[in-house]
């Protein structure tokens, strides 16, 4: 019973990791860039929603929309200002700006909201659902449902729409896609916008479940979500989802049965094992570098 309970906890946190991992994997797929600032987009989404609700008195659903809009715009802006001018430079340069943007967001938030954690006003309340003697929290059901729904929508978008096809083409071969008349700039911006919007939804769900909000709150979930993306196969959308769920379950089982202190260490252990055993990830393909 405890095992099942931990499994469900794992699915809950795993859904959120998966939502964040999608943003990492989409950007990585297109630009081969680890967008270190992606974790902090979560934080921005959380604070936006909180400010909208507590200071402006906007209802929960509208605050969520505001968070989505702010994060999407922020994601696109970060790319335009910090990454785009460096596309022709060695990759390490954009990695360093990515770290810089991440620190900038964290420290700006600390100056504006103070470094102390605050409480997020959760509106997702409801009676727990009981299945065979197992109580599943209302919020858990909401999180898993929303996450799975969004992933299906994203999958459909990428495979069924014109813009989705353009995104896949750019991630396959940027130069060739451009020659086929695909607007690189728009496509990359769209990638950042969608990834950041998903992170915003992940942020609202995360805060609704754990209700704590702080300027550095995005760092650890962001890192874990990235590892989830690598685990599932970076650049592959279903891989990010699978990786997210595996990470969530591994983490909550470790917390439940071994030690909560070691949960983070286990997560990195997973990354090291993946890199040693199957660096392309569970669903990833082995990339051939063109020589």
């Amino acid at each position: 019973m405890k095992f099942l309970q931990q499994l469900i906890n794992g699915l809950q946190v795993g859904s959120i990791y998966a939502l964040i991992a999608l943003g990492y994997t989409m950007v990585y797929g297109v630009l081969q860039l680890i967008n270190f600032a992606h974790g902090d987009i979560i934080m921005v989404g959380a604070y936006t929603a909180m400010v909208a609700m507590t200071m402006l008195g906007i209802p929960f659903w509208a605050a969520t929309l505001a968070a989505i809009a702010v994060c999407a715009a922020l994601g696109v802006t970060i790319d335009r200002i910090a990454y785009k001018p460096l596309r022709a430079m060695p990759r390490i340069n954009s990695l360093i700006t990515a770290i810089g943007v991440s620190l900038l967001l964290q420290n700006a938030a600390q100056l504006i909201f103070s470094p102390n954690p605050q409480t997020f006003p959760s509106e997702l309340k409801g009676a727990p659902i009981s299945i065979g003697g197992l109580d599943i929290g209302f919020i858990t059901v909401v999180i898993i449902f929303v996450a799975v729904l969004l992933m299906l929508l994203l999958q459909a978008f990428v495979h069924k729409t014109r813009m989705g096809k353009a995104m896949r083409a750019v991630s396959e071969d940027m130069g060739a896609a451009q020659l086929m008349g695909i607007n690189l700039s728009t496509t990359i911006s769209l990638t950042f916008a969608i990834g950041s919007a998903l992170a915003a939804i992940g942020a609202v769900l995360y805060c609704s479940a754990y209700s704590r909000i702080a300027p550095t709150m995005g760092a650890l979930p962001g890192l874990k979500a990235f590892i989830a993306a690598v685990l599932g196969g970076i650049g592959v959308l279903p891989g990010a989802m699978l990786g997210g769920f595996i990470m969530g379950i591994a983490e909550s089982l470790t917390k439940g049965f071994i030690s909560s202190q070691l949960a983070d260490a286990v997560v990195f252990g997973i990354l090291i094992v993946v890199l040693l055993v199957k660096p392309s990830g569970i669903l990833g393909r082995r990339a051939h570098e063109k020589v």
Binding site: R91, I99, Q106, N107, L271, L276, V291
Partner: protein, 599 residues
């Protein structure tokens, strides 16, 4: 060499004078406790920045856990001091060494999974590592947990810090300018070309990263015995970022830049304490701003040199006097002789049988057979996409064939790593020129001599006799080689400043420097005009004789191929459709069909 030794002597003298001056000032109390503290912190920061520069600047990999290695070294050294049961001051050098070794072990553990792979996994793994180390230190008993470790004897003094800073900086310079340092630089410039020049890239990636970790550990040992109290939070991600900022500000790859940045960034926050809450904000803006507007750092990538400064002051000459070189006697540029046909019974150099590779469902190459004899020039032609470059990638093991065997002088080489293929005697050039762009022409060639020198990294760092003799020989041979291609006057220029034709020639020279028996040339005449092509044709004939190599040549310029090849292999859609002398190929209906269409 004499000039070099003079310059070493000058630097050592200057260092000794500075040391004497500083000790005097400290003894007199002109530098008080507070300033001495800043000085020692700055010294430790210099070691950290300079060692991180090895990973970020020279190797070109982003590492985000440098403070974590410092932490490992600090705790290891402190634990040793507390448990040794001997006078800690007398065994202090050993303590520091142990701190460094402990950090190096962790560096290996992290480096091996992360650096075997292409991509930016090192950044993520080191980021995680920094945090894990902090969590572990907090949760372990023998480290003192979250309260920190107290009561470490304060042994670190000015002399220790000064000597170690000087040593580490000297090691960075001497290591950087040895065959090992060049190998590391070549990986930053182009890992594929480095591997093709015989550099074991994975080994040198892990080597550089581990050496950097070692020095961070030494700095940790110094730090532990300077502050006396260790707080696990001092080795977290934010500390690592501070060192990253130093490297970025100083200019990635510049040692003197990293030193200046470390000095400034240690002293400045002390002076501007009231603004401390904005420090990380400023750092983040610095990282972004530097990358966007001045990626080469505030000082650029040029190194400050005392000898250079002196010669500037005394002679008003902006550059240090060029070093005297052991120039080889001019090699007469004789006209290429007519080649005698290769004897029928010339030994078989390379033979590939039923070679094939599939990418997913695409059969890029099927049942490819070729035999190349010593000294032969063989052409490999075919329409675009026929699989010509794939053949090269298979022969040099950039791709692993899905079927078939490749034998070099009777030994199967399938699965042998690319850098070892070079040692077996196959060298190549690339369709899109792949030079070590930011390195000099001379260094481009000398990197390819890597495996023909034997001196160890220790011999290179300490400048032992074998370093001097082998480097001198490599220099002489490199100049000789460059002379053959008419590039010797450009030896000190950056490779990317060369005109296109010269870059093509340099790439061939670099390939020849690995001392191959078989040279694979991938479209050497691409983009050349007819006169340049004629010139190239003569050069290829010339090198074939002079260096006694066989050549397998991919080329679209038919006059070139027909003019110098003894035999020609024709590929179409991954299949060999013809093999024969130029005359036979010219008349082969299948070849005509492949090129012109039709039945």
């Amino acid at each position: 060499m004499r000039k070099k030794l003079q310059s070493y002597g000058l630097n050592i003298l200057a260092l000794a004078l500075l040391y004497g001056l500083m000790s005097f000032l400290i003894g007199q109390g002109a530098i008080n406790k507070y300033y001495l503290g800043i000085l020692l912190s700055a010294g430790i920061a210099i070691i950290m920045a300079v060692s991180l520069n090895l990973t970020i600047g020279l190797l070109g990999e982003l590492a985000l856990g440098h403070a974590g290695f410092m932490g490992v070294g600090a705790y290891a050294a402190a634990l040793f001091t507390k448990n040794i049961g001997m006078d800690p001051a007398t065994v202090f050098p050993l303590t520091l060494l142990l701190g460094g070794l402990a950090a190096a072990v962790f560096g290996l553990i992290i480096g091996i999974p992360a650096l075997r792979l292409k991509g930016d996994y090192l950044a993520i793994i080191t980021l995680g590592f920094g945090e894990i180390i902090r969590v572990l230190i907090i949760n372990l008993d023998f480290t003192g947990g979250a309260r920190g470790m107290r009561g470490i004897p304060r042994i670190t003094n000015f002399t220790y810090v000064y000597v170690l800073v000087a040593l580490v900086v000297a090691v960075m310079f001497t290591l950087g300018r040895s065959r090992h340092g060049r190998a590391i630089l070549s990986i930053r410039e182009d890992p594929v070309a480095a591997e093709a020049s015989g550099i074991p890239t994975t080994y040198y990636r892990i080597f550089a990263f581990t050496v950097a970790a070692f020095f961070a550990g030494v700095a940790g040992g110094l730090y532990a015995h300077y502050v006396g109290v260790l707080d696990p939070n001092n080795f977290g991600f934010m500390k690592s970022i501070e060192y990253l900022v130093m490297v970025v500000l100083g200019g990635m790859g510049s040692i003197t830049g990293a030193i200046s940045a470390a000095l400034v960034l240690t002293a400045l926050p002390e002076l501007l304490r009231q603004f401390s809450e904005y420090r990380m904000l400023v750092y983040s803006l610095l990282l972004i701003g530097m990358m966007l507007f001045r990626p080469a750092g505030l000082l650029g990538i040029r190194e400050f040199s005392l000898t250079g400064l002196l010669s500037y002051v005394f002679r008003r000459c902006p550059h240090a006097e060029p070093e005297e070189r052991e120039m080889p006697q001019a090699v007469a540029q004789e006209a290429p002789p007519l080649r005698p046909p290769v004897a029928e019974d010339a030994p078989v150099l390379l033979s590939a049988q039923r070679l094939g590779i599939q990418f997913g469902g695409l059969k890029a190459l099927t049942d490819f057979d070729v035999t190349i004899h010593a000294g032969e020039i063989v052409g490999l032609i075919g329409p675009n996409g026929a699989g010509k470059t794939t053949v090269f990638n298979l022969l040099t093991n950039v791709y692993l064939p899905t079927s078939g065997v490749i034998e070099v002088e009777g030994v199967n080489v399938v699965g042998v790593p690319t850098h070892e293929i070079t040692q077996v005697g196959i060298a190549r050039t690339f369709q899109n020129i792949r030079l070590f762009r930011k390195l000099t022409v001379l260094d481009n060639v000398k990197i390819a001599y890597h495996n023909q020198m034997q001196y160890t990294s220790l011999e290179g760092t300490l400048r032992l006799p074998r370093y001097w003799s082998e480097e001198a020989r490599a220099n002489a041979r490199a100049y000789q080689l460059l002379r053959v291609f008419g590039l010797e006057k450009l030896a000190e220029e950056r490779a990317d400043s060369l005109p296109y034709g010269a870059q093509r020639k340099l790439e061939i020279a670099r390939a020849l420097a690995t001392n191959p028996k078989l040279l694979l040339l991938d479209e050497p005449a691409a983009g050349m005009n007819p006169i340049e092509t004629q010139d190239l044709m003569a050069t290829i004939r010339n090198i074939c004789d002079r260096f006694n190599v066989a050549i397998l040549l991919i080329e679209h310029d038919m006059s070139l191929v027909m003019g110098i090849c003894e035999r020609i292999v024709v590929l179409d859609y991954g299949q060999m459709i013809a093999l024969g002398t130029p005359d036979e190929i010219r008349r082969d209906p299948k070849v005509i069909g492949a090129y012109l269409g039709g039945e």
